[in-house]
Amino acid sequence: MSSSWLIDCVRRILPAGAVPDPAAFREALTGQLADLRKPRGIRHQLASLVSAAVGGVAAGHGGPLAIARAAAGWGQEVLAAHGYRADEDHDQNSSADLDAIIAEEDKLPEPRTRQEVAEQEQSGDDPLIRTSDETSHRADGERDAGRQEDADRWPTPEERAHLHETYLDWRQEVSAGREQGMNVVGDKPDRSPDDRSDLPPTGEELVNMESDSMSRFDRLRNHIYKQADDITDVAEKTGNRALELWERPPTETHTEIPSGRPEITNPAPPALDGGQFVLASLTVGMLGYELLRAVKNRVNTWKGDSHGSK
């Protein structure tokens, strides 16, 4: 999915000026999008990018860089609703660079739909496969032709009404149970953007790993001294028993469970030491812990069920 294709989709699906609640929209997207980007260098969640793109299109911006420039001027609250941390996204100094990039973008052709790309590839008339001299000429012509085609393909009034109705239904669905004006900005994502636990280590992390390993080994220094006196003796006795592990598979004794009624074949367990009071206290205490564990597991199951049903 390219940003241009996405922007085109948004224009088609959402009525002009319509914008979904960013936090609810982003929440609905989370878990639905497959993020095919390489993990390194990812700064923003995909759902946040899509949410911002939709907001930008609704505000009338035509391309990804125009949206990015507009987003640089969005307030903290708006950015947070789209899932951005304000301190890293509110870089006013980048606006000047963006202007230059946007100027370049204006020379590029209008975004194409997948169908257009497929048709043009088949006909061999792919506008992107050109020499560099033809590119700027072509870009102007393409843009004009694209705009005309775009107007022709815009939904009819009936289609727009249907789309608007569908959009309103969707809004109602995601807002269900939520009171008007309820703050959802504070909702925490399931996974923090800083959570890199499943990603390979960076270069810096690799260097730190080595020093981490040595510092952990250093902490075992006292082992060396407390073992020193006995090590040769232990090495002989236990070492030889441990070497039996090489003799695999081990020959294990199988014990048969006696058939017949267990009250006859099962001897009574060893006597329970300790007075009745001690026994009662311990048992009640432990049952109390088990009760807590059962409640905790039930809550976790409920949370899992309600999360899965969304």
């Binding site: 981490d212 075992l220 073992q227 090590i231 040769t232 002989e236 028993r241 070497l243």
Partner: protein, 147 residues
């Protein structure tokens, strides 16, 4: 002070599972003059073997599972290895907790069992064993040089 070649050769025979050779070499080690060096070598070997096998991100469950697996391999292992001490030794290598309260004898004994199992599972060829022992010797020398 540094680890001697004799001590390294003894550990190599142990890690190869060569019982006769191991016992021959072990018989030539002196309890007093070789104790510290051999202790450093065994400790370094245990550390390195655990570090390679377990990730520092591994949950405690990995240690419980592995120790149970080792203890289930022989009746002697089940009897000789205290599972909780073995789990704590593994976790200590990974930076979680300490075994300061465990006496030297039990600590060494448990390490030897776990080291044997870890080596069997790692299935090192001769070159890999050389590399392993080379690194372990350096680690032990480093530890001994710090006093």
């Amino acid at each position: 002070m540094a680890v001697s070649d004799q001590q390294v050769a003894t550990l190599r025979a142990f890690l190869e599972g060569d019982k006769p050779k191991y016992n021959d070499l072990l018989a030539d080690l002196d309890r007093k003059s070789d104790g510290l060096g051999y202790s450093a070598l065994v400790t370094a070997a245990f550390f390195e073997a655990v570090d390679r096998r377990f990730s520092t991100q591994s949950p405690r469950a990995d240690a419980v599972d592995y120790v149970a697996d080792v203890r289930s391999r022989s009746a002697n292992a089940a009897e000789d290895v205290d599972p909780r001490i073995a789990e704590r030794l593994i976790r200590e290598v990974l930076g979680d907790g300490s075994t300061d309260d465990v006496d030297g004898r039990t600590s060494a004994s448990t390490k030897l069992y776990l080291l044997t199992a870890l080596t069997i599972d790692a299935d090192l060829d001769a070159a890999e064993l050389d590399q392993f022992l080379g690194k372990v010797k350096k680690m032990a020398d480093h530890m001994l040089s710090r006093g």
